[in-house]
Amino acid sequence: MVKLAEWRGKELFRRYGIALPAGKVARSAEEAERAVTSGDVPLPCVVKAQVLAGGRGKGGAVRFASTPAEARAAAEAILALEFKGERVKEVLLEGKVAIARELYVSLALDRSSRVPVLITSGQGGVEIESVADSAIERQPIDPFPGLAAYERRRAARSLGLTGAAAKSLDGLLTSLWTLFDREDAELVEINPLAVVGDGLVALDAKVIIEDDAVFRHPEYAAIQDDRTPLEEIAREKEIAFVQLDGNIGVIANGAGLTMATLDVLKEFGGAPGVFLDLGGTDDAKKVTEAFLLMAEAHPKAVFLNIFGGVTRCDTVAKGLVEAMQQVPPADRFPLVARIRGNNEKEGIEILRAAGISAVPDLKASAQAVVAAAGRSP
């Protein structure tokens, strides 16, 4: 998923006609000061770290300023932060607004009912998880007609909005639905949505774009900048690559089999480190590529668990032996391979001939790799 920083989410909001406070992004203390002195951002203002993690208010990543010097100092302090493991590179400065009430509004997918759902609550400005169910209204939306006028009226009623404010909500929800639909969003969330006079102003923006839809929105492909270099290579090769805290590398094919492999390893005291999911395919070339990628992550031992469906196990085994030879001797690691499926016997023979331990039993092979990781220096 492509999580957008607040300011990027707000750029989308602006494009879809959702009202925002006057604001500007700054990448240095000087830029922050200029944003205020130029009049782009009125004083007093709020200065917010542009990071993807939540809970910024409590973590010192949101500050207030009444003068240009204060804005500069606030930006300087925030830009020096590392917030929940993320370096702060940008701040968003916004003029403070006179908030009458804080609401919550979002559109998300309800997987069970297979429809988008509009979620609203009169208790905005706090984490929605902490709000009681009775204070949250959920409306399933039929994707074909889309968000209907009566559903928007119902949302206004449940939020206690009438007159001009209800009309503002009607427009806002229409915009939000259009954005959700056209931008292929998984989630659009405004929390808080401030009632300011008769109007509604989005004080925060959380937008997540679905990865699988990025082919329709190439502009999002470039902003995924939170990946490590190895993760980036894996993504290009369409291999799912996840870094955990353990020391055993796991290569498997398919999400379910990968998860089951991790479950079994943990049961026998193993600590999975990197895991690579080759996906539903079992292409021998992909096995080689994944293997070389794994070598760069320097695991203590590697467990390869492949079910050969279409590709034959002997083909996979040949690919594996070849890959092992490409790894420089200094970087080599103990390997336990479990390959099952088509031509399983031939595959195991090839591996054993190359000195790679091949155990067909899942339990025994998991135990073998845990032992190997324990012995490895």
Binding site: R111, V115, G254, G256, M259, V264, G280
Partner: protein, 294 residues
């Protein structure tokens, strides 16, 4: 009788001239499936694995009376392919294609439902009844005819489990892979009544994963409407919690979606829950023996 597919199933493969389409057409034919047509726009008149290729599903249905579709069309075009199949009168569509945007799948699901068609998938291995028919990509080697039903959200893990059941000397009635995407055409709850009604299924193996609430929904259904014994397995119980789709996603599945909630719900509904895949065959064999004694 079997579930959804049988000897009368006549398959049209959409995207037959692509690599996957070709390979799995061969696999389906070797399984014994009547693959009667292929569709790739602009390639009418060609032949793949002895199967005639047509320009459109409508042409294929007119010429071959195809009544099920297997879709391998790349993700950007999968929605159109599905709509084309449904409009041509196909009522069972197995969508193998992965990475279809869920916004597209929402349209596909509601469109098919409105026309009385069923989607299996997307991002799924499909369905197979050993000795009868297979629509999809489940490897032929794992099967042997029998009386154990399998329904799963996984791909390769399903092959692993089905293969384990076979090695234990048992066989399968129908194996149904639902697909791992957030929005699927057929869920556990949709599949359970089919297995309940199937006289060839004695025991059901349900393979779930962490995330979403499909297993909790299934447990609810099993408790009230499913009379056959169930063995369940949930992959991912060692995964760290908190991998969720933002705050709103957590609200929708509030208090559900973890391995613990799924296992508890399934056990509460009377299912035997395996901790690891290799425990499944023994549990199934135990239930089969119990049933035989009654």
């Amino acid at each position: 009788m079997t579930i959804l597919v049988d000897a009368q199933t006549r398959v049209v493969v959409q995207g037959i001239t692509g690599h996957q389409g070709t390979v799995h057409t061969r696999g389906m034919k070797e399984f014994g499936t009547a693959v009667v047509a292929g569709v790739t726009p602009g390639k009418a008149g060609a032949e793949v694995e002895g199967v005639p290729v047509f320009d459109s599903v409508r042409d294929a249905v007119a010429a071959t009376r195809a009544n099920a579709s297997c879709i391998f069309v790349p993700a950007p075009f999968a929605k159109d392919a599905l709509i084309e199949a449904v409009d041509a009168g196909i009522r069972l569509c197995v969508v193998v294609t992965e990475h279809i945007p869920f916004h597209d799948m929402l349209v596909m699901y509601h469109y098919a439902k409105g026309k009385g068609a069923r989607i299996i998938g997307p991002n799924c291995p499909g369905i197979a009844s050993p000795g009868k028919s297979k629509v999809g990509i489940i490897p032929n080697v794992v099967f042997r005819p029998g009386r154990v039903g399998v329904v799963s959200r996984s791909g390769t893990l399903t092959y692993e489990i089905v293969s384990g059941i076979k090695e234990h000397g048992l066989g399968q009635s129908t194996c149904l892979g639902l697909g791992g995407d957030p929005v699927v055409g057929t869920s556990f709850v949709d599949a359970l009544p089919l297995f309940e009604a199937d006289p060839e299924t004695d025991v059901l193996v349900l393979v779930g994963e962490i995330g979403g609430t499909a297993e909790e929904d299934a447990a609810e259904y099993i408790q009230h409407h499913f009379t056959k014994p169930v063995v369940a397995y949930i992959a991912g119980h060692s995964a760290p919690p908190g991998k969720r789709m933002g705050h709103a996603g957590a609200i929708i599945s509030r208090g559900k979606g973890t391995a613990e909630t799924k296992v508890a719900a399934l056990e509460g509904a009377g299912a035997r829950v395996a901790r690891f895949p290799y425990e499944i065959p023994d549990l199934v064999a135990g239930l089969v023996a119990e049933r035989a004694r009654r």
